[in-house]
């Protein structure tokens, strides 16, 4: 032990992590990220408002040929939209409404916007979550199998299939699935979603199968390929080699040593894909007549229903921001180096 007395330096080189201030550091970090998310959302609101309300005359666009004849309706619309006011005051009014939870009134049917979109927002979120629950384990599983057989035949076959699936547009996948499972070959699942008034699509679970399956097939290839690429890199690392030389069985090496370090890029690509699904799967929703956000957005644009378009755009933007925030938090929690950097 005299040796220790003369050689203390390498032991004191790294300060031990400080545990006490960890909670406070996390709170500050989270507050900053939430603040940033709000700033982003506010910037989005400006873009959305400018793009929808300030370009051209909405009243003329709504009334079309009636603009010159139906004076009463025109005046009523102008009053409702506040066309006479300046852009800034209209924006402030609108933003004030958003903050207090008032999304405005639909121009098409004069009903409150929120009442009309709440069910489609829920429907879309349920669809995406179901797709995510199926897709995440599937994509990671395929990636693990593929990287286990790296550059041998099973890997080549899997990668070729994934690439082909990634290349097929999602509505083509949908049509093929309908032909295969609903109309031509087998007749197992309904091809369209029929929702009773006041009901939800999942009242008839069978009708959810095809939309979910289509989304899963659309997204799995991307996630799987990214995770496989990261896994291959990790499997070449020194710590995986050491784990093998330590006598750890291969499945444990894959699950505990490799996957844990390959999961973060996977989370990032999953979050991007989910956010994309939440907002943009118009074609799939239309194909299956699924009452979701995408379909409603397209209808609203067609009807020049400015208030609806604004509300839906803000909700989609909000979903993007929340999903990315969750992904960032998860990534940091799963990367010890980043995690300890925050808490010390």
């Amino acid at each position: 032990m005299t040796q220790e007395a003369t050689l203390p330096d390498p032991l004191t080189e790294v300060a031990p992590p400080r545990g006490r201030s960890g909670g406070a550091a996390w709170a500050i970090w989270l507050a900053r990220r939430l603040g940033l998310a709000l700033v982003t959302l506010w910037l989005v609101s400006i873009v959305v408002f400018l793009a929808t309300a300030a370009l051209g005359d909405p009243v003329r666009a709504i009334l079309g040929r009636d603009y010159g004849t139906n004076i009463a309706r025109r005046e009523q619309l102008e009053a409702q939209l506040g066309v006479g006011d300046s852009i800034v005051s209209r924006y402030v009014d609108w933003l004030g409404g958003l903050v207090t939870g008032d999304f405005g009134t639909s121009l098409a049917n004069q009903l409150p916007v929120w009442g009309q979109i709440s069910s489609s927002v829920t429907n879309s979120i349920v669809l995406v979550l179901l797709a995510a629950v199926v897709m995440i384990p599937l994509a990671f599983g395929i990636a693990m199998i593929s990287s286990h057989f790296r550059r041998r035949r099973p890997d080549t076959v899997i990668q070729t299939i994934l690439l082909a699936l990634a290349g097929v547009p999602e509505f083509v996948t949908g049509i093929l699935l309908v032909a295969l499972l609903s109309t031509t070959v087998f007749k197992i699942f309904p091809a369209v979603t029929l929702v009773a008034p006041g009901g939800a699509p999942w009242d008839e679970p069978k009708s959810m199968v095809l939309p979910v399956l289509t989304l899963v097939i659309a997204v799995t290839p991307y996630v799987s390929r990214i995770v496989r690429a990261t896994l291959l890199e990790v499997l070449d690392s020194d710590y995986v080699e050491l784990a093998r030389l330590k006598g750890i069985p291969e499945p444990v090496v894959m699950r505990k040593h490799a996957l844990l370090n390959a999961i973060v890029p996977g989370i990032q690509v999953v979050s991007l894909q989910l956010a994309w699904l939440a907002g943009g799967v118009v074609l799939v929703e239309t194909l299956f007549q699924y009452p979701g956000v995408g379909r409603q957005l397209v209808d609203s644009v067609r009807n020049h229903d400015v208030a609806m378009v604004q509300a839906l755009s803000m909700i989609i933007a909000g979903v993007y921001i929340v999903v990315n925030l969750v992904a960032d938090v998860l990534s940091i929690l799963l990367t010890p180096r980043a995690r300890t950097a925050i808490s010390s």
Partner: protein
């Protein structure tokens, strides 16, 4: 597995140890041998050093003992006998059980060999947990005992840390503790101290030797540095191009090295007691499939005759236990450790100061890392900055080079004061001071050809262009001993030593007056280090270039530098001419560094 209880098997089991017979590893597909004809015995409690340059196949032999080969290669022949079992013939399940429990492996770069996402406590007990050995409590206790044995803290806080929260020495000792935890009979250590400073290296080596003695473990210590082996090994095997070139007891190898390759390796090691004209070994280690006919060393050997090119030499015994694979062993005279010694740099030489540093304080944010450092550098002089990792030597050199700008103090270059960051300095000042980085694998742009890399500074500083620049590139390549055929290679085709030569040529292309060399040989083999030092010494004499040489290797300082600054925790503790400081050290810290340096003289 069948457990025969025949007399010999029983005897070997009682004594432990490991026998390697005629081991060969080949590339999958082509069948080209990576290593072949390896016969080696590890006796119980014995440490055998396996020494060779990069590409000699020493790591391949090391992992073969665990029936493991990297992707693209497979073990093609031979036996690895542990007790009465052939490790290479065991069923897969048995091999896995044997790994870790009976033959353990200590990795080369522990910082990357510990899993970054698993707490070290969990990594330590992982194997036992999977095998269901003991209870959770007894496993934890074993982990704590293991850590205590290697001199690390044993509290929960330490067990709960991740690898990135430990220093380099701590990580390596965790890896040692992990290897020793299942009480293995044989240990394979793959360059476990490369990249560690001398103090930490000494500590790790002492710990390892202590554990081997205490537990009667036989160890195979794989390294490129004969000096390290001189201090710990009982026997030494020197490997070249996939074969054992010389094998013998340590004292025989160092007193009477009989293979020209062993001698060349010894000649490239700097001494602590006297400056030497270091020499590399000409040429490079041939890769598998490109090895010459006859003796594999014949194209780099100073003693080669026709017979060496035609006939493959066999290992033959020249003294008890001392075997050499050379036709001319015994004909080539004796080796003298003092060959190549030169007078130390004259401490009283008149100095013409070109660069001076006064009262340098460096900060990382609010952290004050370098305190009041002052020294100067004369024309055609090499000044060494020496210290353990974390002593601030690289920080100082980065501040002087203008790569780190958060510092205060005065930096005077030929009487003019320089700005803190390189961006604020004039192009002329930037040209005249060039920086060479530690890791040549990271400092060269992988997309550019060697010619483009070397041309770049000429174009940047307007020194030459067009055909003139091309001529200069060829000329510079010649100066750093690289052939013109490499002009259009990308860096990935070059070995570490060749890459570092390109980095030096790139610095020379700017025609500098001062070169800052930041640990430029620490990532390289000792033999390659010898040739790089030879090159730098030539440049200093011919061109009068001054150099700031950052290193943790005091023996190297003796051979290359005239003056030295010994650093500890960001302060200069001792400074002066190399002869004075190393022959009559005044500070305990300097003596400790000298004492910890591995040496063969």
């Amino acid at each position: 597995m069948t457990t025969t209880t025949s007399g010999t098997g029983h005897e070997v089991r009682k004594t432990g140890g490991l026998v390697i017979e005629d081991l060969g590893v080949s590339l999958t597909g082509t069948g080209v041998d990576v290593v072949d004809d390896i016969d080696l015995v590890l006796r119980p409690g014995e440490v055998v050093g396996l020494v060779g340059e990069s590409g000699s196949g020493k790591t391949t032999v090391g992992t073969s003992l665990l029936n493991y080969s990297r992707a693209g290669a497979h073990i093609s022949s031979g036996k690895v006998l542990l007790e009465d079992r052939d490790v290479l013939e065991l069923p897969w399940k048995e091999v896995r059980k044997l790994r870790g429990e009976e033959i353990a492996y200590v990795p080369q770069d522990p910082a990357s060999a510990l899993n970054p996402s698993i707490r070290i406590g969990k990594q330590l007990v992982e194997l036992h947990q999977l095998r269901g050995i003991g209870t959770a409590q007894s496993r934890m206790q074993a982990a704590r005992d293991g850590l205590a044995e290697v001199g690390l803290p044993t509290d929960d806080e330490f067990l709960g840390r991740y690898a990135h929260q430990l220093s380099g020495g701590q990580v390596q000792r965790v890896a040692l503790a992990m290897a020793f935890l299942p009480k293995p009979k044989v240990l394979v250590l793959d360059e476990p101290t490369t990249g560690l400073d001398v103090t930490t290296q000494k500590m790790v080596l002492d710990t390892m030797a202590e554990l081997c003695r205490a537990h009667g473990v036989s160890a195979l210590y794989v390294t490129h540095d004969l000096a390290v082996v001189a201090n710990i090994a009982d026997r030494v095997a020197v490997m070249y191009a996939g074969q054992i070139a010389e094998l013998g007891p340590r004292d025989a190898i160092f007193a009477n090295p009989s293979h020209p390759y062993t001698r060349a390796l010894l000649d490239s090691i700097p001494h602590l007691s006297q400056a030497r004209a270091l020499k590399g070994i000409p040429g490079r280690t041939p890769s598998p499939g490109r090895r010459p006919e006859g003796c594999r060393f014949n194209d780099r050997c100073a003693f080669a005759v026709d017979r060496c090119r035609e006939e493959v030499p066999a290992l033959r015994t020249i003294a008890p236990e001392h075997e050499v694979r050379c036709h001319r062993a015994g004909e080539i005279g004796t080796w003298d450790i003092n060959i190549g010694t030169v007078p130390d740099a004259d401490p009283d030489r008149p100095r013409d100061v070109i660069l001076s540093v006064e009262g340098l304080d460096v900060f990382y944010g609010r952290k004050h890392v370098v305190h009041d450092v002052s020294f100067d550098l004369a024309k055609g002089e090499v000044v060494a900055l020496v210290g353990e990792s974390g002593s601030g030597k690289t920080t100082i050199s980065r501040s002087i080079g203008g790569l780190h700008k958060d510092w205060t103090g005065t930096l005077t270059f030929e009487g003019r004061q320089l700005a803190t960051s390189a961006r604020k300095r004039s192009a002329e000042d930037r040209r005249r001071m060039q920086y060479i980085f530690q890791n040549p694998y990271l400092s060269l742009n992988p997309r550019l050809t060697i010619a483009q890399i070397i041309r770049r500074p000429m174009e940047l500083f307007g020194l030459a262009k067009g055909k003139d620049a091309n001529d200069r590139v060829v000329d510079l390549m010649g100066q750093v001993a690289l052939g013109p055929q490499m002009l259009h290679y990308q860096a990935s085709r070059l070995s570490g030593g060749e890459r570092q030569r390109v980095a030096i040529a790139r610095a020379l292309a700017a025609e500098p007056d001062v070169m800052i060399c930041d640990e430029i040989t620490s990532a390289l083999d000792v033999s390659v280090q010898g040739s790089i030092v030879e090159l730098l010494e030539g440049l200093r004499i011919e061109r009068g270039i001054s150099m700031l040489f950052v290193t943790h290797n005091l023996a190297l300082v003796r051979s290359i530098a005239a003056r030295v600054q010994i650093l500890q925790a960001g302060r200069v503790v001792e400074a002066g001419s190399v002869v004075t400081v190393m022959d009559t050290p005044q500070e305990d810290y300097t003596r400790k560094l000298l004492g910890n340096s591995p040496r063969i003289d």
